[in-house]
Amino acid sequence: MKKRNYLTLFLTLIFLMSFASVGWSKNLFHSGGSSTMLQILKSLLNPNLSPELLKLAFESSWITVAYAAAGISLALIIAFVLGIPASGVLTESTFGKWMSFTVFRGILGFMRSIHELVWAWLFVAAIGLSPYAAIFALAIAYGGALGKIFAELLQTVPQEPIKALRSAGASKLQILIYGYLPQALSNMVSYSMYRFECAIRSSAIMSFVGLGGLGYQIQLSLTELRYNEVWTFLFFLIVIVSAVDLWSSLLRKKMAEAAASRLSFVKLSTVALAAIAAASWMFIYIAEAASLLDIFNAKNLEHTKDFLSGLLGIGQAEPAFFSLESWKNAIRLAAETLHISIIAIGLSAAGMLLTVIPAARNAAEGTLTLKRKWYNWPLYLFTSGLYIISRSVPELVWAMIIVYILKPGILPGAIALALHNFGILGKLCAEVVEDLDLRPVRNLASSGASSGQILVYGVIPAVMPKLLSYILYRWEVIIRTTIVVGFVGAGGLGQQFKLSMSWFHYTDVTLILICYLLLVALVDLFSEGCRRIIQ
């Protein structure tokens, strides 16, 4: 057996063990859970479509998009400012390269390790309840993620044209703008579009720090148990996210095409995106009356200082991070968070594996197993629809709904995370199946294999390594998000984070963040190691 198979076995075992260790003895649903679920599902069939609510939904959608666009445009600036030095293309000396790798990568890594909602919370404590708390939070978390990818993209551009520019006498910066950036641009654009889509979801959940928008409306309707309104807002979110998704895949396709028509669509998109960003900033500046410069005043500086010294425990008798008891507690919560993340990734992976074949276009068309059945197309539409709904709804919103159904504890958080990541994994993995080289499959078929045999011997072994590394990659994302579902009472470090913030126990917050960062780093390391084995 290959190393990879051992690893798969090992990971499956970890998942099964985590799954078994949940307290299953008692009933999963709390007493009223199943009837609440029925109510929620029933109201799915009659969402509230009254004109006033639709108007509200349109306005909230715009707010959500505007904050996302503002956040992403700032994130792009951060990503360029930090990502370019982090790529090392501007430095030649070994010291310079070392600096760029450790310092700038370090900063970017730190920025993206902390979930945007946690950043938002910290910003609210520092600069007060302002739209900029949310925008900065998005900008930092996404700036970190984009910057890291930008650095990698710049590093991997073809070097021949770069050398040519150098021998034509171009300076470092000229080489950057004439050589590196144009070559990396199309990948940068498609990744940024993908991130824009994520930012819309994140912006929706910024209601947790007091921002309007779709998440806020969902939260309101949910606490007042008006499920039919919840669905209306969810539909809006799903439509926006899918629209951006469609746009970005179209843009990617057009940019790759060599046809002359590509220019007009690409140009049009550029103009439209710039216009959205400009309109968003205008909206925030005028309608929300939030001027960027107002943020940087003496009062905020004072508060930020106070908040930071609170976090550092300056002048405090017994900061939590010097207390053994607090450490024990935090480590227990970190273990719980890890537990949640493992169950979450396991569940979403299992769900994905069960549905990914029917969700692949080539399976629907019958080219994958070379058999066409009447149910292939309906099944394809159903599963890919499921994926879209599942991933358009942020994990936090799933969690808010699920705590009404399941008992508080580890499981609601895990299931919320699993629900969201099921759609993401499903989409990524269905694409892997679609891109599969079909020649071996035909060989199998011509030697008389049945559809089942083709799947087991031809398709699954070929796609498994890719799927496995996607699963591991999503796990890295999930561990960052696990803290966030804790906010709505889904357990782990997140719940404690929220309580400590509400009770102004800032040194506890610091301790939790330390544990959180350590956990994220640990999972990243482990997952990276596993992925190396797989490749």
Partner: protein
Amino acid sequence: MKKLIALILTAIMLISLSGCSADNQPAADKAEKSVFKIGAIPDQNAADLNRNFGAMAEYLSKATGLQVEFVPSVDYAALVTAFERGDIHMAWFGGLTHVQARSLVPEAEAIAQRPRDEQFHSVFIVQKELNVDKLEDLKGLSFTFGSESSTSGHLMPRYFLMEAGLDPAKDFEGAPNFSGSHDNTYNLVQAGTFKAGALNEAVWEKAVAEKKVDLNKVKVFYTTPAYYDYNWTINSNEYVDKVFGEGTRQNVKEALLSMDNDQADILALFQTDKFIEANNENYQAIETVAKKIGIIK
């Protein structure tokens, strides 16, 4: 091509402007520097709060000559933070948030409260068909508090549970939930999502009076002993008198205390017929309990 771009541009500008017009009103106000801002812990649903405190802001504007505006908050802690920052000049706090606010702004002062706030109670509710008539019976049932920063929805109920020998972390079915507000608490118990919960007596009485809660499904089985709760807390001199003029704190206090039958409809929104004087010392006991439970260190 050019036409299309122009089309997109105008469309987007229009959308953004329509968004603007919807929010224009507060925008103009926010720009104004010397607005006296009042806030309230979001212990009930947002629409009710906006109505009640909107009316109060209007009255205070008339009575004091200040430009008073109500600023809603998303959660309890956010209001305390805004208060600390001087973004909120006067807040309707619960006992715990008042104590938290004072530990951050020592000069803040409780100036007025309702008579009932001197003798406040929490009620414990449970699904009607359950055989529960004392706190000990809650063992093994699912349970929800209100907000984690609420006095009547969390702090005091937790305290009395502990007095009755229950450990909220262990003795319920699963960990206790935090519903966020008192309204949510009775809604969740009534919907069957949780078997039992604890909430503010005033909110409960109002819900019963307005028939928002179905007494065939939910019953009160325990009412706590009395404690001090809600009050109007005004910010320090630095943020009030220095900004709005000497004597502002006193003026606002008098405006509140002088409310009478002429303002009956506003007072009714607060379920009272008058406001009486309050003071910081009343909240010593709450502080002690909060320390005991570990909410305040």
